[in-house]
Amino acid sequence: MRKSLVKMVMVLAITAIAATSLVAQSYAIVFKNTGNPYGEKQMSGFKTGIEEQGFQAILRAPDQPTAEAQIAIIQQLIAQQVASICIVGNDFDALTPVLQQATAAGIKVFSLDSSVNPAARLTHVNQADSVKIGQTLVQAAYDMIGGKGQIAILSATSQASNQNLWISYMKQELQLPKYKNVQLVKVAYGDDLRDKSVSETEGLLKAYPNLKCIIAPTTVGIAAAGKVLTDKGLKGKVFLTGLGLPSEMATYIENGVCPYMFLWNPIDVGYLGSYVATALVKGTIKGAVGDKFAAGRLGNYTITKAPDGGTEVLLGPPFKFDAKNIGDWKTVY
């Protein structure tokens, strides 16, 4: 008893000393923009992971979802000599110069959720297999509309690399003969802003009166579309699916506007990112294919090859939310 107490005091003392001497050991995450519940969850997961390892987390997000604003934030983080920067990119290419500057300053740079150019990152933390996400969403829309009719996609910004990747796999899936009666009429961009997503949804409904289904692979977009379809009483006429937060989408899943949707746990994505960050800084991994590391409560992960030519870590398969299980999940995230 006494021994363990002494041990505990010693551990505490060492952590305290380590904490003071390692002020520079802070780990930053830069999300796309503020006021995005999905982003808040992701950042909170990152913070939990960093703090349980005894380091300091810096959570940043610009007020507008633009690369300009993220560049300014990254410059500030370079000046603060953070140990690592985890970027959720607003643009695949525009952040390359500033991220290379960060790398030159000895900072470990990697992307999470929405990737940046492989030339500017060590690795990328991906939620799920992008090909599978594209296939799953198209399959869902196909089942909802009974295999025939017009569908549209409501995305975030036209530069969001994860969105574009998923959309390209959706289009690829739609090439299959099975989908010959399904017509993708438009990809609209709501910029992950609520008001723009609402007006883009309204625009889609006006322009395509025969629209049967909207796929919104973004949490802001799907919630905005859910609200528009509910307000206009289009339940059963225009279906909605995509990637959404259970807490925001519970109303629309329960009222039937959105029969089911998918997502992974954004808290886990951020949490996984925090262990990638520390492993990169410690040198346990270099971001190369085959590197292995332990990610706390999530278990062990291996870095794999990414479709864009770089490397990535996959969290796991997307999870399906429907009327049966939404009640359990809406309070979680």
Partner: protein, 345 residues
């Protein structure tokens, strides 16, 4: 030169010299720096400080022509859309096969034409206010940019183009050097040429200026074209910093630029102000952003702080102007008759 004789009626005194708005701005600037260096131990790093200018200087090119516009008593809210349109034409031109230098020239030409168009409407339809005209062209220019590029991005510029925003000349950012040259040129134009004096005269009293033989229309058109040209500069540097462009770039720049000009002590009723104030304001807001960013202030708190600073400064400026302390103005700008009755204030 007769104007200057009149201005000598008010003797230069030490008190008047130090009660100028610019001194207050210098004070605010120093205060911002002192607070910032107290907040973060990473702030006082010369290389980082001077390097961080590239994140706010692209917008600053617009501050100088906007100073002219506001001294004229006008306003231009179409500048950000001009930036977007010219940047988009440059990108599309380059990707259609134009050599990069020509594409850059195209960017400046398109921007100047946008400005010129504003100016021509303003002088042709005098009954329309500048806010309405530029509100219309703001929507039109942004609309054209969207029509050209849709919701897409365009880029893949040559490597050397990065130098504009990221390059250093003997450790000094290239953009800072270009900005300094432009600032000097605009300062000379406003305070050392007859063109500048015409701008002040027109801002004070347009009718009187016209009757004293100033070709007011041509001044308005020139200032508008100059504003367009500088929007082209902003587009060049912004696109270089981003590496690509899209129709929604520079969103909200017009308001930030106007805020900097007003914080710089330029009166929104026209006729008074100096180029130094807005330039100081650029650095105050720029470093405030940078410093608060270093201590990881969230974006929304930043907006609140900058808004408060703006309203506070404008309040101080206006209360002071209405009060006992003499109006701060360059000797050249002072006219005994402002063409207004006192109760108009």
């Amino acid at each position: 030169m007769s104007e200057r004789t009149i201005s000598l009626d008010r003797p230069r005194s030490l008190k008047r010299f130090f009660f100028q708005w610019e001194w207050l701005l210098v004070l605010i600037f120093l205060l911002v720096n002192v607070i910032n260096s107290g907040l973060s131990r990473y702030y006082l790093n010369f290389r980082a400080l001077i390097g961080s200018t590239n994140s706010f200087l692209d917008m600053a090119f617009l501050v100088m022509p906007m100073t002219f516009v506001i001294i004229l008593g006008n306003i231009d809210i179409s500048v950000a859309s001009t930036v977007a349109l010219s940047a988009v034409t440059m990108a599309v031109g380059f990707n259609a096969g134009l050599p990069m230098p020509l594409a850059m020239l195209l960017c400046l030409v398109v921007a100047t034409v946008c400005g010129l168009f504003n100016g021509l409407i303003l002088v042709r339809f005098k009954e329309l206010s500048a806010v309405i005209v530029t509100l219309a062209t703001m929507i039109i220019y942004r609309g054209i940019a969207y029509v050209i590029l849709q919701d897409q991005a365009s880029g893949h510029f040559p490597q050397w183009y990065n130098y504009l925003a990221w390059g250093n000349f003997h450790h000094v950012p290239f953009i800072l050097i270009v900005f300094a040259v432009c600032a000097l040129a605009f300062g000379l134009l406003l305070h050392r040429t007859s063109f500048g004096r015409k701008v002040f005269a027109m801002g004070n009293n347009l009718t009187a200026a016209r009757y004293s033989g100033i070709r007011t229309d041509s001044v308005i058109v020139w200032v508008s074209a100059l504003t367009g040209l500088m929007a082209g500069f902003t587009a060049l540097f912004l696109t270089s910093r981003m590496g690509s462009t899209r129709p929604n770039v520079a969103q909200g720049y017009e308001l930030s630029v106007i805020a900097m000009v007003v914080l710089g002590g330029v009166s929104t009723s026209g006729g008074s102000g100096r180029i130094g104030g807005p330039i100081l304001a650029v650095f105050i807001i720029g470093y405030l952003n940078y410093g608060l960013g270093l201590v990881n202030t969230t974006a929304n708190v930043l907006l609140i702080i900058i808004g408060s600073l703006l309203i506070l400064s404008v309040l101080v400026l206006n209360v002071r102007l209405g009060g006992r302390i003499p109006r701060p103005s360059s000797p050249r700008a002072i006219k005994p008759d402002r063409g207004r009755t006192p109760d108009e204030k």
